[in-house]
Amino acid sequence: MSIEVITPGLQTTIQDEGRSGWRHMGVPQSGAADLFSCKAANYLLGKACDSAVIECTLTGPRLSFLKEMQILITGSDMNPKINDKQLDMYKPYSVNVGDELVMSACSYGCRSYIAFSDDLVCNPIMGSQSTYLPANFGGFNGKILQKGDIIQTISSPNLTSKLQDSAEITGQDFTNQWCLKAIPGPEFEVLDQSSQTLLFSETFKVSNDSDRMGSRLIGKNLNVKTTDHMTSGPLFPGTLQCPKDGSPILLGSDAQTLGGYPRLIQVPLFNQHLIGQLRPGDSIEFRRISNEEAVEELKQQALSFPFIANI
């Protein structure tokens, strides 16, 4: 009644929609770095939206099924195959006992999500099954999946198939050159005029210092006029904060809850999931948008993809 990890891939973890209600104790949201793809996977398979999925990073795992079930893969295309048969993304497949799912490396985007008709068995910590690696809790013993790990599964009691909709949700247009919308943040004004303009025109590069907590961006240095003793303030996923060295950090789902660097811009919800698809070496630009426009875009997105609206 389980799934065996034959090879783990680069950084494969169990995730879900993340934790809420614990930020006042320093506990980050965690959950899928690309929430859109995670929710799409569960939705298309008819799973409850808070079901746990497997998140794969850059290079996916090889999994052996010890029980028959259905699977569906979304997000970045890691060329998934079952027993050498090529799979389409965003389409459900039945797997039999002994079948092997083999995923390789992706060229566009960074993360894939595998949803399962069975429920993955892992203890929720503070209301979520998502893995938070810095503190090693949640998911599979708080760790990235290793060769030989066996993930127990149980039949899901409430499967309501939405497969008829699957034709409408196909892969998103992943790229190596991203353009994200952003709203000026609480400390936007610590940038001088030319740095404000630069922030919305410069092409930054995603550095190798990138993980689920945040991506360090490389570009022309922003001129941050700030005092050394700015006290720590609340932070959320999607915030671009900038230390004094002028190299900004775009925060992801494991973002710390408080921080002392100026919060320059905020990537709004309708674009935030794309942060989870940034890969080292990609380029990224920011385009200014107002709060009202961002909410309007979010509502438009929810008309096409109702599964994003459960927050």
């Binding site: 320093g26 006290t231 509502k299």
Partner: protein, 234 residues
């Protein structure tokens, strides 16, 4: 308590609001107000997915599918208006935390002694001679902000944050000292490390420290640090 007029609330992205407490006309310490407001908002309202207090501000996160930006703003404004600040009852429990200030655990000690023109012994003495209050929890699970640090040890944040700190690292920044219960990145100047486990997700209450507690550091040798770690893992 002075009545608050026009609370300085600003929008933070499309799903959060930020209260700038330092701009309110208050007679109490901003962080004490933040903690009391946190308790009030968490007890009285379902609008907020998360309430995040900080030293001089507080943020709430809401669902833009359930509340418009205007509604969220006016709801929060009304709540702050109705909120009658009472100091939270202090938790006077004194916790002793052993700290090893050996070079191995104190990558920024040299910078601190140079900039402050103090010897290591003086830095250790100043840091471990007084008691601190836990003024805030946040950043990463269980990270504790302690105050107030004596002015002789005020240091700026690092211009470039470190990527990998040891669990238990003790840092200083401005008028705060803080404990990183987990490894990972951090931007404070690190002057020591405690072997004490301050966050344990296996426990019903994973958090050893909570706001209001009183903390006293005691300097230990590197041998004592290792003994302590061996005892814990045994």
């Amino acid at each position: 308590m002075k009545k608050i007029v026009n609370p300085p609330i600003i929008h933070y992205g499309d799903d959060a609001l930020l209260v700038k407490i330092q701009h309110l006309a208050l007679t109490c310490k901003p962080n004490e107000y933040a903690l009391a407001l946190l308790a009030y908002l968490r007890a009285s309202n379902n609008d907020w997915i998360d309430v995040v207090p900080a030293e001089e501000s507080l943020a709430v996160r809401y669902s833009p599918f359930r509340l418009s930006a205007k509604e969220a703003y006016s709801n929060l404004e009304k709540q702050i208006d109705e909120f009658d600040y009472q100091p939270l009852t202090q938790n006077n429990q004194l916790i002793h935390i052993p700290v090893c200030y050996h070079d191995k655990f104190a990558p920024d000690m040299h910078t601190v002694t140079q900039q402050k023109v103090l010897s290591r012994e003086e830095v250790i003495k100043i840091h471990s001679s007084i008691t601190y209050q836990v003024t805030m929890i946040g950043f990463t699970p269980g990270f504790s902000y302690l105050g107030e640090l004596p002015e002789q040890l005020f240091m700026p944040r690092l211009a470039v944050p470190k990527l990998h700190l040891l669990p238990g690292s003790i840092g200083i920044s401005g008028y705060r000292t803080g404990i990183y219960p987990l490894g990972g990145p951090g931007g404070w100047q690190i002057i020591g490390c405690t072997p004490m486990k301050l966050f344990d997700s296996e426990l019903n209450n994973p958090f050893k420290l909570s706001t209001g507690m009183t903390i006293k550091f005691s300097a230990i040798s590197i041998e004592q640090f290792q003994d302590h770690q061996n005892q814990v893992t045994r």
